[in-house]
Symmetry: C2
Subunit: 829 residues, 2 copies
Amino acid sequence: MTTTTVPDSPATGWRATGVAQLEPAELERIDAWWRAANYLSVGQIYLLDNPLLREKLTPDHVKPRLLGHWGTTPGLNFLYAHLNRAVAQRQQPTMYLTGPGHGGPGLVASAYLDGTYSEVYSDITQDTEGVRRLFRQFSFPGGIPSHVAPETPGSIHEGGELGYALSHAYGAAFDNPDLLVAAVVGDGEAETGPLATSWHSNKFLNPAQDGVVLPILHLNGYKIANPTVLARIPQDELRDLMVGYGYTPHFFEGGYDEDESPLDVHRRFATLLDEVLDEIAAIKERAADGDLSRPAWPMIVFRTPKGWSGPAEIDGKKTTGSWRAHQVPLANARDTPEHLAVLETWLRSYRPEELFDDEGRVLPEITALAPQGALRMSATPHANGGLLLKDLRLPDFRDYAVDVPVPGGSTSEAPRVLGQWLTDVIRLNPDNFRIFGPDEVASNRLQAVYDTTDKQWNAEFIGPEVDEHMARAGRVMEMLSEHQVQGWLEGYLLTGRHGLLTSYEAFIHIIDSMFNQHAKWLKVTNDISWRRPVASLNYLLSSHVWRQDHNGFSHQDPGFIDHVVNKKAEIVRVYLPPDANTLLSTYDHCLRSRQYVNVVVAGKQPAPNFLDMEAAIEHCTRGLGIWEWAGTETAGEKPDVVLGCAGDVPTMEVLAAADILRRELPDLKVRVVNVVDLMRLQDATEHPHGLTDREFDGLFTPDRPVVFAYHGYPWLIHRLTYRRTGHEHWHVRGYKEEGTTTTPFDMVMLNDLDRYHLVIDVIDRVPSLGSTQAGLRQRMQDARIRARAWTREHGDDIPEVRDWVWPDAQDQADSGQVGATLGTGGDNE
Amino acid sequence: MTTTTVPDSPATGWRATGVAQLEPAELERIDAWWRAANYLSVGQIYLLDNPLLREKLTPDHVKPRLLGHWGTTPGLNFLYAHLNRAVAQRQQPTMYLTGPGHGGPGLVASAYLDGTYSEVYSDITQDTEGVRRLFRQFSFPGGIPSHVAPETPGSIHEGGELGYALSHAYGAAFDNPDLLVAAVVGDGEAETGPLATSWHSNKFLNPAQDGVVLPILHLNGYKIANPTVLARIPQDELRDLMVGYGYTPHFFEGGYDEDESPLDVHRRFATLLDEVLDEIAAIKERAADGDLSRPAWPMIVFRTPKGWSGPAEIDGKKTTGSWRAHQVPLANARDTPEHLAVLETWLRSYRPEELFDDEGRVLPEITALAPQGALRMSATPHANGGLLLKDLRLPDFRDYAVDVPVPGGSTSEAPRVLGQWLTDVIRLNPDNFRIFGPDEVASNRLQAVYDTTDKQWNAEFIGPEVDEHMARAGRVMEMLSEHQVQGWLEGYLLTGRHGLLTSYEAFIHIIDSMFNQHAKWLKVTNDISWRRPVASLNYLLSSHVWRQDHNGFSHQDPGFIDHVVNKKAEIVRVYLPPDANTLLSTYDHCLRSRQYVNVVVAGKQPAPNFLDMEAAIEHCTRGLGIWEWAGTETAGEKPDVVLGCAGDVPTMEVLAAADILRRELPDLKVRVVNVVDLMRLQDATEHPHGLTDREFDGLFTPDRPVVFAYHGYPWLIHRLTYRRTGHEHWHVRGYKEEGTTTTPFDMVMLNDLDRYHLVIDVIDRVPSLGSTQAGLRQRMQDARIRARAWTREHGDDIPEVRDWVWPDAQDQADSGQVGATLGTGGDNE
């Protein structure tokens, strides 16, 4: 394998060329490319040997296990061929995004034909042996996947899960004003929810500042085993649907009329493509002249038979133009002579002898169809975003610190503080950083960013009294679809930019599966030498499980962390900063990182600050540590009990419990350990951030009771620590599914995570206390009951809880000092 | 609380009444209902006391924490009022489905007005004290949620997560030919992916056999902090979109023209509603006459101001008709005299003195708007599906058993066997059981069901050569959207029917969040006395992580089980039947169960059968057990090692390892334990299916090494067992994220779950073997390397692995007996 360097920037495109009057030779060239691509695709699926059919096909030439998808492939190849011609003619930087990514053989074939494949995989040479290897490796042990995948040059889009072609395409187009993204949408994929809403991305695109997405709806009519919905509604209805989505649809149908010559089909499509690209060029020109209003961008409905050019029938059953062409027709080609004959006839129908020279090299007059260098769609640097990635210019986060004169000595909504820093991140990085959210950026308290930017919006405006912070260009992208904003961000990151997504913790599960696919993409690219690292995908989950006052049970689920932790340790990071300064320090780290998914959970409600910036940096650098100021242990002696905590609410409750313990049991030696970086709990052999056993024992002791208060489901802490020496002494409290409640402390009590219960846990677990502290235990029980009764009477938390502050802060207040407090302002859900 | 019994069936509806010429008094009644509902809604959000405003409003009357959502509520109330009138007039059984379910106060208010609320909650009486309690309980500790929720009579739809209003509505309508489902879709919700594709449900509805969904797109223009997309495109574009989705849109706009009297607004909407309902009646009549083709069902675009009837401005900022009305306007009403005054003016604008009598009872001339009994939308038995639920008539699954003369003595694709039983389930239950899948029913090998039914489809047909098993009525529902089919099934179950969903294991994560909401619904309804149990939600995941030959890495993720296990133990069940007969027995159990989510993972590839039906039933009844025939222990003595397994592929590998061990180390006492019901591993105190420690130790021993081969991520087994005595002796192998591979055994090897590695594990963990069996260990290593090299050379598994059978089956084969084998047939993805 060789690595790719950043190619010279091609000339800017958007040329209106008019409709090319193609000579027959040019149409022949397109057809020859298409045949070559189809031949190479079928070859990948079926052939183990005899790659150029220079001898008669025998069973031994056929792979023993036939795996892959043929049906969508010829359509993809047809489009790639035609785009080649147009891209070369217009010198238009173009990315080809394959929604039906199971058509992997097609994209590999196209990348091989334009030379990219052999450049990045030097063993897949441009000769007979190279073709043989190309065929053999496909969906073969030790080879390449059957889908479009990270291994496929030119792709940012794994073909394994359908639904995200357009959101990825628009994400790629944002801030790439000269880029055309030709996005093929399968008509199967078009039935998915995420795809169905992603058409509306056009209301969020700025025609001057952003690139262009050309959706091509590939209406081949069938899925795995069914017809597709959009292929089975009247064409007028489909037209209305596309017009309703805000596009100008262009209909093309090819491959059904047996009397029409292939060259005529090519001529018709070339004409249509030129018309469409000229329409785009005209829109871009108007935008350059200042008209930024939303145009009805063109899109193409491309109706061709599924498995086009394959066998019409197999065993008397219609195959081409039916769902039977979806995967591998002729599944028994190796064992059934009739099928083998059909396969050979099929392969020879592409006339390989006209496509390859004696050495097995594709004829140069065919490959000449493709553009050169970085204009080749398989070689576009945009699809290897790390090549284009620039470090963010980050303002010094220390300058945004909140004042924390003593622990608990000030109060902040942590994300609101982060928002001030992000404002300057946006200011310093005006064209490669965006914030994404499903209508929750302000709700999650990042609204300071509107001091310097707006929400990008290109639907109708009404007026400033309702359209606050909305403009045709802006760094914040909001639509009420987690799928859409996640897809946009993925596309934006994979093309070499930076961003973050803020959402509610419970509903981020909506994109569980998208996270999976992105994490898998990152994992695989780590092992592909020509793929360069991209910026991490950063989450900020600020409406978390413990503060769903407006919403309750349906909004309570901290399990996204569990889901994330199932992925490879080298890819995922989970942070639970307990206050504003630790959140700042954490996020600075996240925005500098590469190739991770960083999940940051930090509540948006006013909460005490515990660490000044210096302490916050030290704490975040360690990832976890003893808060000596909160404990009562004596230097050099083991504590009697360790109170662990991870998450803002659990940290506050642990501190409140520590406060009670130091008042009630002044001789008890309590250690408080706070965890910011959850992965540090794991073993060093399991996660790169993991602690060694020695480090772990140094913090938590191998033999003292540990009462651990955790933000999420408690068993995750057990899972991370069950191999540690002292694990049998661990008692973890976390979130349980217990139904709605509407005051915060009530919620905490419902989950037994409250200060009183933590004190009871300590009494029950420190042997010396169990027998002597029955009275304190009872008082804690009574305090809980009193607190619960108060909420039911008053609809609010009991003052002793609501107004509790860490004793140092109380001392400070008593002495007349006041810590800085950030106002709480707008209280959107 | 009282419980509801099944009311008498109301007369069938679908009367065409023409447009009612409403007298002013009737319009006044509608308006009074609307004002009463709005008053009761605002009261719930704000008032702690003084419910009928019989005295001047003081801060003490206002709740200390104001929680809830006002913006969508008046529109919901308006629609409910008008539907009341029409339902009563037409005697049309109707369910009201609230997409913007955060408008909880509105639905509670409406249920209170029609009397249902006081019937099911006897403490919420129809008098002043009842109103006070109604207000106080709302979003209050110990009270009711702020959203539409299980606690809300008439609802099957939790308002916490947006996107599923239409799929739930269509699910409710299937097989309910006389039911109208009025489904309000919020324009925020309309931006979600699942909602965007769910409009297409109309292509899957049979106009005779199924009920009718009337979508009402509530275009109030704003979300939490942004305008909505569909409110900011030209009306023509929105019309095209709805026509493109296959509907006949009817546009209504109200509340913007200050010169129009409220009665005129009501008159216009009543007229429109009558026209639409007559249009529906006409379609139903045509369907009754045999025209089953897809009509363009009517839908309503209902454009009204967000927060309609609320304060126009607050603090000089536009509130009604803007996103500022979304949640709680006047958030500081208790502390700010000006806001308190605005609140009082707002409440009094509904003229409560005209709505309630001296005792605080709503005037009977107002409540008379509602229909009676079960026709009340809040009282419809369809929204309390357990009332209507009938047990399935299940054929005896033992009659579908595969022959297993000896363990391993036959081969089946287990789901194909299940499909034969399901065929007869369908035959015996022609109108209350459906199978749902995202284009994967045949791929997952249930195609036998097409012997007796079809896929329901009401888009265009082409002809039998491609439209196999498709008809306008059928029991199988397939669309390429996991969201859609999950939503349909949820709606179908919650209205008292039965079903299952089959999907690929990796992509079921797409509906993680929907599963969460359904599980939460079930959990809460378990504690609501008037809610009757509904049938369980059954999954069949047959394309699982270990056999993704066509697809590879992107299709590999066994984490849905982990996700499910995070929910309450009383709700979730996970089954991993190892072969065909155990799958039959398991699924019989699932289809009989209530109020669970049953996750069944069973591979679709040909695999050996181990248990005959008698043994399968016994094994499934226990949920796990020792397979004595597979082990080599001596009765009365402890084994030297326990081989545990859960899942079909791990079971086969464990048996292959046991086979090697009995040949190579005949003196080693091996016990094999297979687990079908994963929850049995948990402690009895954690899960109702859990084993006691004594039972657990009896199976796994407290002190012998356990090598456990598990289908999914290994830490789940640790999580389920870490509290057990012998846990430190457990070594679990399961799925690791390791990238694509394309032969099954290669995949197993990549994960170290293969037979050779399991033997090595035994050698490494049984103390007596470590020093003596270095030779065997080396041979196992060599066998792995050989197997791996073979796949890379031949593209298939090495014969010694591929052709391995359990020795009893080999003996049987050698003696000429042959077990029954079900053909493998079609090989769809």
